[in-house]
């Protein structure tokens, strides 16, 4: 058991525990904060996977924008009754069932995969991951088109969100 494995196990526990808190806590602000914890954990996992850029982007985008957005939304939709009543609907046990079923199913599928114990090769030294990522994103024979489409998507989402949330005077 080397250091990375220990780190991983710890981070994995943190992630899962925080995730469980996200989906079970009554107070939504708490849920959003627990989400932030989860997202941090995921960023660490990215780092462990030598995807440094993604780790940073995760923090910046997810935590810095999305989670904040969540908190804003919770604030704006706050009611006195928000804290009352169960936070789960009546068929939550079915949700448990389905979640467990999904988990079990995914594991089951993974069992048949031969590369499951793949340990993974050494990360090549001098490999410029970020540069390669940048190349991939803008190279015409690579992923420039999805990239541009994604930006248009963001534009559309922007316009749409503004429009939807716009209050008419």
């Amino acid at each position: 058991m080397d250091a990375t494995q220990v780190v991983f196990l710890g981070i994995g526990a943190v992630i899962l525990m925080a995730a469980i808190m996200v989906v079970t806590t009554r107070n939504l602000v708490h849920a959003a904060l627990w989400l932030i914890v989860t997202l941090f954990g995921v960023a660490v996992v990215y780092a462990l996977l030598n995807a440094g850029f993604l780790a940073v982007v995760q923090v910046v985008i997810y935590i810095g924008a999305i989670a904040i957005l969540f908190i804003f939304a919770v604030m704006l939709t706050r009611k006195d009754l928000l804290e009352s009543g169960s936070q789960h609907n009546r068929a939550w046990w079915l949700g448990v069932l389905v979640a467990v079923g999904a988990f079990g199913g995914l594991l089951w599928i993974l069992r048949g995969w031969t590369g499951i114990q793949n340990v993974g090769g050494e990360f090549p030294a001098g490999f410029d991951a970020i540069g390669a990522l940048g190349d991939a994103l803008v190279a015409p024979n690579a992923f420039v088109l999805p990239f541009e489409v994604a930006s248009i998507l963001l534009l559309a989402a922007l316009v749409g969100a503004v429009y939807v949330a716009f209050t008419r005077r």
Binding site: N89, A91, L94, G95, V98, G101, G105
Partner: protein, 710 residues
């Protein structure tokens, strides 16, 4: 044209007149009577021509004028119909033609042609008089009959029937003519159809003669089945007659000939109003007087006797049948005469007199004297028609007086008359001649000769018949003189009688004509050795008619029948005059005995025995019980049963099973299912996702295990 063709044509003008009047001239009274009288004249001319030729023909009986056609094909031969004029038909043509013509002319005056239409006259009721202005004040005069043309149409049809019967050579066309006359008598008796008594009398006449006609039809059928033919000349062949006389039948032990004769005779009993089927003739006086004269004196009732004379060869073969015939004839003669002495209506007396005289003829036939019967038939036709037309004239004159005085009295009641001798002289003298002829006034009247011959024929061989007929002759003379005395002699008993007046020439001329025959016709039948005077006459009639059956010599003259007939005639006339010359009211009439006035209660007996049970059967038994109760009950039961089945099925099967179970049940099930299934679509996406994922997991698992692993 030949005589045979002429004979075929004799019945034709009246039937043409009938159709012409009905279809074309019904609205024009004058034209109608010209058509009818024209037709009657044509037939008269043809009949006279045939008669003259027949009389001039030598041995007419052996070679009669005959002609036939093949009419209906039967299995191996034809049913033939045709015409035959032998001595009997020739004599019949003579008197039928003259009387029909006289009556047609008389009807013009009787129905008041030329008079104005009545004030309140409606078709269906006798005319009641019209008010006219004359000399400043109103007179009520007799009015014209509203149904004038119809009358002439009917009597034309009647004439057709009679001529057909007379000239036919077979029983079938005889029966056709017989039935046509029966129909016409119904139509004419009920001529004034709005009078209930007239309607009832018409039905009674038709029904009663129908009873006779049924038996006659049986007789005709029997003839046909026994001999295969209906023509006289073929039936009366000697070998055929012998065969019929030899076969015996189970009824009364009669031979076939006797049974046929009896059956056909029953038809005559109905048609000629013999006892017990005589009840229709007095009621038939409801019809207009020309009808009474024609139908019930001269022609229709004579047709019955004519038919019996026709089948005399057949009838005479069986002595038992002859006895029955003689008995019925004699009985009827006396029976009707007893009733006639108590009648007050001038026409009723004549009606019963007719029945009685027909009885004479039938009795004579039963005794075997067919020549005498034929002679009396002819003379009776003339003088009885004369008497009826005379009574019509009397009534017509009385009507005039009734309208003049305005009092409504019965113009036909003899006790309302009296002294009409001065007011209506022609009617009086002709009626007197007719009455004397009926009574048998000696030497100058035809009735004397014919009645004397009947009495002479029955004397000796059939004494019972002779005595009965003699008594009846006395009664006949008695009631005839009673009638004449009450009507014409003495003083007028009512104001109407005082104002009676003589009638127009169209009514009096036929009276005069008939009275000539009533006097003169008798002289053709005077016996050769009458009263010991040999060779005083050739007795043409006897030779002429007698040649039919080979009876060529007259009866031996005997003083007793002659004296008897003289006694009864004079005696009856004298006693009648004596008894009634001073009678003023019915209360003084000693002979108003209820049993005689009520016709020996025969009508009441028939009503109780036959009519009321028949009504009861029809009305109660068949109609109420069977028809309404049983059959309608069954039908109602069916109806109710079907309705019950229908509603039962509806309530048991239709509503619960089909409507509720299948119809509504399906709807409920669908509704419930829908209601339950609606919960699936809650609109909540979490639920949708749950369900989708669950199912996806199930399908994936199934796919994995079934497709990939296997």
């Amino acid at each position: 044209m030949t005589t045979e063709t002429l004979i075929w044509l004799i019945p034709l003008p009246p039937i043409l007149a009938f159709f012409l009047i009905i279809l074309l001239t019904n609205r024009r009274k004058g034209l109608s009577h010209w058509v009818a009288i024209g037709a009657a004249t044509l037939s008269w001319a043809a009949a006279m021509s045939v008669f003259v030729q027949a009389v001039g023909q030598h041995e007419l009986a052996k070679e009669p004028f005959a002609s036939f056609i093949n009419w209906i094909p039967t299995a191996d031969s034809w049913l033939k119909i045709g015409v035959l004029v032998d001595p009997l038909s020739a004599i019949a043509l003579f008197f039928v033609a003259w009387t029909i013509l006289a009556i047609f002319i008389y009807s013009v005056g009787y129905h008041n042609f030329g008079q104005p239409a009545g004030d309140h006259d409606v078709p269906g009721l006798p005319p009641h008089g019209a008010t006219i202005e004359h000399g400043g004040h109103n007179h009520v005069v007799p009015s014209i009959e509203p149904m004038y043309s119809r009358f002439f149409a009917f009597i034309s049809l009647f004439a057709f029937g009679m001529y057909t019967l007379v000239v036919s050579d077979n029983l079938l066309t005889l029966f056709v003519g017989w039935e046509i006359m029966g129909l016409c008598s119904y139509l004419l008796i009920g001529f004034w159809y709005a009078k209930p008594s007239a309607r009832d009398a018409g039905v009674k006449a038709f029904m009663t003669t129908r009873v006779g006609d049924v038996f006659m039809l049986l007789g005709i059928a029997f003839v046909y089945s026994a001999t295969g033919t209906l023509s006289y000349r073929e039936i009366f062949q000697p070998q055929v007659l012998q065969t019929l006389a030899g076969v015996s039948t189970p009824i009364l032990g009669l031979s076939a000939a006797g049974l046929i004769g009896l059956l056909l005779f029953i038809g005559t009993v109905g048609k000629s109003a013999q006892f017990p089927l005589h009840v229709w003739l007095p009621d038939a006086m409801e019809g207009p007087t020309p009808v009474s004269a024609m139908i019930h004196a001269a022609t229709m009732v004579s047709a019955g006797v004519f038919m019996v004379i026709r089948i005399f060869p057949l009838l005479s073969l069986d002595p038992r049948t002859m006895t029955i015939v003689a008995f019925i004839g004699a009985f009827t003669a006396l029976f009707a005469a007893t009733i006639a002495v108590a009648q007050n209506d001038i026409k009723r007396v004549l009606a019963y007199s007719t029945i009685s005289q027909l009885g004479y003829m039938i009795a004579a036939l039963g005794a075997g004297a067919y020549v005498a019967a034929t002679f009396h038939l002819v003379t009776h036709a003339f003088f009885k028609a004369l008497l009826f037309l005379g009574s019509g004239s009397v009534i017509h004159g009385m009507e005039h007086g009734v309208l003049h005085t305005g009092k409504h009295i019965d113009a036909q009641d003899m006790f309302n008359m009296g002294g009409l001798r001065k007011k209506m002289p022609i009617t009086f003298w002709t009626f007197l001649i007719g009455g004397f002829a009926l009574s048998g006034f000696p030497l100058v009247t035809a009735g004397f000769w014919s009645k004397d011959e009947i009495l002479a024929s029955t004397f000796g061989g059939h004494m019972g018949v002779f005595i009965t007929l003699a008594i009846a002759a006395f009664l006949t003379a008695f009631y005839t003189m009673r009638q004449i005395t009450l009507t014409f002699l003495g003083e007028a008993r009512t104001e109407a009688a005082a104002h009676a007046q003589e009638n127009v020439w169209t009514m009096t001329a036929p009276l005069i004509l008939l009275s000539i025959f009533a006097v003169g016709f008798g002289w053709v039948g005077i016996p050769e050795d009458f009263a010991g005077l040999r060779g005083v006459s050739s007795n043409w009639f006897h030779h002429f008619v007698g040649s039919m059956l080979g009876e060529t010599h007259a009866i031996e003259f005997n003083w007793i029948p002659l004296l008897t007939s003289l006694t009864v005639a004079f005696g009856g006339l004298f006693v009648g005059w004596l008894a009634y010359r001073r009678t003023r009211t019915p209360a003084e009439d000693a002979l108003q005995i209820p049993v005689l006035k009520k016709k020996w209660y025969i009508d009441e007996i028939y009503s109780a025995l036959l009519i009321r049970p028949a009504y009861w059967i029809a009305e109660t038994l068949v109609y109420q019980t069977m028809d309404k109760g049983l059959i309608d009950g069954l039908l109602h039961l069916f109806g109710k049963g079907t309705a019950a089945i229908g509603s039962g099925l509806r309530n048991v099967i239709d509503k619960p099973v089909i409507n509720a179970f299948f119809g509504d049940g399906t709807a409920h099930v669908v509704q419930g299912t829908g209601r339950n299934m609606r919960a699936v679509q809650s609109g909540r996406i979490q639920q949708y996702m749950l369900v989708a994922l669950l199912i996806m997991m199930v399908v994936a698992g199934l796919a994995y295990f079934l497709l990939i692993r296997l």
